[in-house]
């Protein structure tokens, strides 16, 4: 087990460098920082442009540029955004925090509900509940998040207000707090989280209910359950130590991957609901071609992806010893 983990860890480090390098190259080619700079500072002189290039490591070969960027990055010097020349870290930090709040909130609810539904569907296989749950999951998976986001927005911003003659929308459809609000208000924060979280949760519930159902059914029909019962142990023990213990293995591994995907994954929802998280941050930076903003963002996402991939691998091997073959 230890060997398995350490092998994976050892691989993770060079992977990190390779991936960040590739990302660097892709973004460097795709966005032209100099052009962006010019766009936002149209009257900059040649000297200023040259100075900008040198300061930001935009001269030399691609590998040279990469190491220049890398050096600055690990020493904490992340530069300033091209647009507005603002320090990168504070905004990125806020975006990260916001996304984590939304992501963890939605994922926790989504996975819990999904597992619950999947379990009942498996226990009452072929029942009405099972059919409804399966169809529901299918429908949920067939509705892309941006469509459910728009429809929910439409419903709550316009129609519920109209139908119930409300003075203001029942649930807010954009932002984190009402404009001009300052300070921390959990109830209000929650209110603003509900709609975007619902959009995210729909997908999660659909996926996890199906996974749980499939996994449980496979375990239910397994012979070791019969052996467990033949041992005369209590049904509760059979359920927890055998049925659930085995059924949750694939679910847990996927959950680990999904959690890693939260960091960069809520782009659509955030954009539609104007939620100032990592997704929105990325889109804005991308649209502006704002290289200094994009790279740190990328690094965060890369780290999250690699880390949680590793976690998922390790978790899987820990839970299912048959995997520990290398």
């Amino acid at each position: 087990m230890l060997r398995y983990v350490s092998r994976r860890l050892v691989w993770a480090v060079p992977t990190l460098f390779i991936v960040t390098f590739l990302v660097f190259v892709a973004i460097r080619i795709g966005t032209d920082p100099v052009a962006s700079y010019l766009r936002l500072n149209p009257r900059a002189s040649q000297a200023k442009i040259q100075q900008y290039k040198e300061v930001n490591g935009l001269v030399g070969t691609i590998p040279q540029q990469y190491f220049h960027w890398l050096r600055h990055f690990v020493t904490g010097d992340w530069g300033r955004s091209i647009k507005g020349s603002r320090p990168v870290w504070p905004e990125l930090k806020n975006a990260l925090a916001n996304t984590l709040v939304l992501g963890i909130f939605a994922t926790t609810i989504g996975i819990s509900v999904g597992l619950f539904i999947g379990t009942i569907a498996a226990i009452r296989q072929y029942s009405k509940f099972d059919s409804v749950a399966s169809t529901g999951a299918f429908v949920g998976l067939s509705i892309p998040p941006y469509i459910s986001a728009i429809l929910l927005q439409l419903l709550f911003a316009v129609y519920i207000t109209k139908w119930f003659n409300l003075s203001e929308p029942l649930l807010p459809t954009s932002g984190v707090y009402p404009p001009g609000h300052s300070g921390f208000d959990p109830m209000l924060r929650l209110k603003y989280l509900i709609l975007p979280a619902t959009v995210v949760a729909i997908q999660i519930i659909a996926v996890y209910s199906r996974y749980m159902r499939a996994s449980l059914l496979e375990v239910k029909n397994s012979e070791y359950l019969r052996t467990a019962r033949a041992k005369g142990i209590s049904e509760k023990r059979v359920l927890v130590n055998h049925t659930m213990r085995n059924a949750l293995i694939p679910v847990v591994t996927i959950a680990a991957l999904d959690i890693g995907a939260i960091v960069g994954g809520l782009i659509i929802t955030e954009r539609i609901f104007q939620y100032p998280g990592m997704g929105n941050y990325f889109l804005t930076a991308f649209e502006n071609g704002d290289f200094p903003q994009l790279m740190p963002w990328m690094v965060f996402v890369v780290i999250a992806v690699i880390m949680f991939n590793l976690l998922a691998d390790v978790l899987y091997a820990w839970l299912d010893p048959r995997i520990r073959l290398d």
Binding site: E223, R229, A230, K231, G232, L319, D320
Partner: protein, 328 residues
């Protein structure tokens, strides 16, 4: 037999399906004495496994199990669930055909044995672990202490089956039901496992029900044998008697279909036809559709019970006509 440890009377198992009820077991009797090994022989679909799964309460809830099955007087069929559960693993244990799928792949085998022990005995974890190691040693697993910390997939087929046996005898059960334990193993390993079972049986004086379709295995280790066909018993008796002078045409067919030494190059004689549809089994003796001696009397309901015939019991109503009495 009045001193039988395990006693089954008129056991019936039915499975309701969308197309009708499958009558898997249609009334069998069985007695096993202490220290005795009874072989249950039959082909796939004869109901041999289902009978005992039904007695143990391991069939799906939709299955209908009726009749009587007693362990030293304790009735299991229709009994309270708790009673049945307490009997499982303690007084009556079962080992299954494929030990790889029968053992939980994610638990260490030591833990699985400990679970068996702690379900019925009041031992601390470390005591139970020690006992588990002793059991592994008992069934012939080398380096039991190390092996107890390993997982099922790290064992070979034969070793896994030994683990299953160790687990089954952990609480010194009065009855051990072995459901085709050697079918999935190759011949040499088979012999080892049979030896283990026999040794255990002698040491612990367990009553063993050994289910198999392999007549060779039965000949080797069983004291008595009971042949099943289409959910009913065809005949039963001491192994030697049955094998030397089978009285039921089915048993005769089984034995003569075996390739015997000295018959190399000759045609084999399988039993013609196939097992009947268990949703609508033939009236009377179910074997009559394939029996070379079938007569009108064979089609009369109810299906014939086992009746004494010489030193054995047979369900063939024409046995006295077909089998010369006293011929051996």
């Amino acid at each position: 037999m009045t001193d039988s440890v395990f006693s089954v009377r008129d056991l019936r198992v039915g499975f309701p399906t969308d197309y009708g009820e499958v009558q898997a077991v249609r009334g069998i009797d069985l007695d096993v004495a202490e220290g005795e090994l009874v072989g249950i022989v039959g082909e796939s679909g004869s109901g041999k496994s289902v009978s005992f799964l039904g007695v143990m309460g391991l069939l799906p809830p939709s299955a209908k199990v009726t009749g009587s099955a007693k362990v030293r007087g304790l009735e299991l069929i229709g009994a309270d669930k708790k009673v049945v559960r307490k009997t499982r693993g303690k007084r009556m244990a079962m080992i299954f055909q494929d030990p790889l799928s029968a053992l939980n792949p994610v638990h260490k085998i030591g833990r699985q044995i400990v679970e068996m022990i702690q379900a019925h005995q009041d031992m601390s974890k470390s005591e139970a672990q020690q006992r588990a190691v002793e059991l592994l040693e008992l069934v012939g697993i080398p380096q039991p202490k190390t092996r107890a910390m390993q997982f099922p997939h790290e064992f070979s087929g034969g070793m896994r089956q030994r683990v299953m046996i160790a687990m089954a005898i952990a609480n010194d059960p009065e009855v051990l039901i072995a459901d085709e334990p050697t079918t999935a193993l190759d011949v040499t390993v088979q012999a080892q496992i049979l030896e283990v079972i026999q040794r255990i049986q002698r040491e612990l004086n367990t009553a063993v029900v050994f289910i198999t379709h392999d007549l060779g295995v039965v000949a080797r280790i069983a004291d008595r044998v009971q042949v099943m066909y289409a959910g009913r018993s065809a005949e039963r008796g001491e192994v030697h008697d049955i094998f030397m002078r089978p009285t039921h045409p089915y048993t005769q067919g089984l034995l003569s279909s075996l390739p015997a030494s000295g018959t190399a190059g000759q045609r084999l004689h399988p039993i013609p036809g196939s097992p009947p549809n268990m949703m609508r089994p033939p009236s009377g003796c179910a074997f009559r559709t394939r029996c070379p001696h079938s007569a009108d009397v064979c089609a009369v309901d109810p299906p014939p019970d086992l009746a004494p015939f010489g030193t054995v019991e047979t369900a063939c109503v024409r046995a006295h006509e077909l089998v010369p009495e006293g011929a051996l």
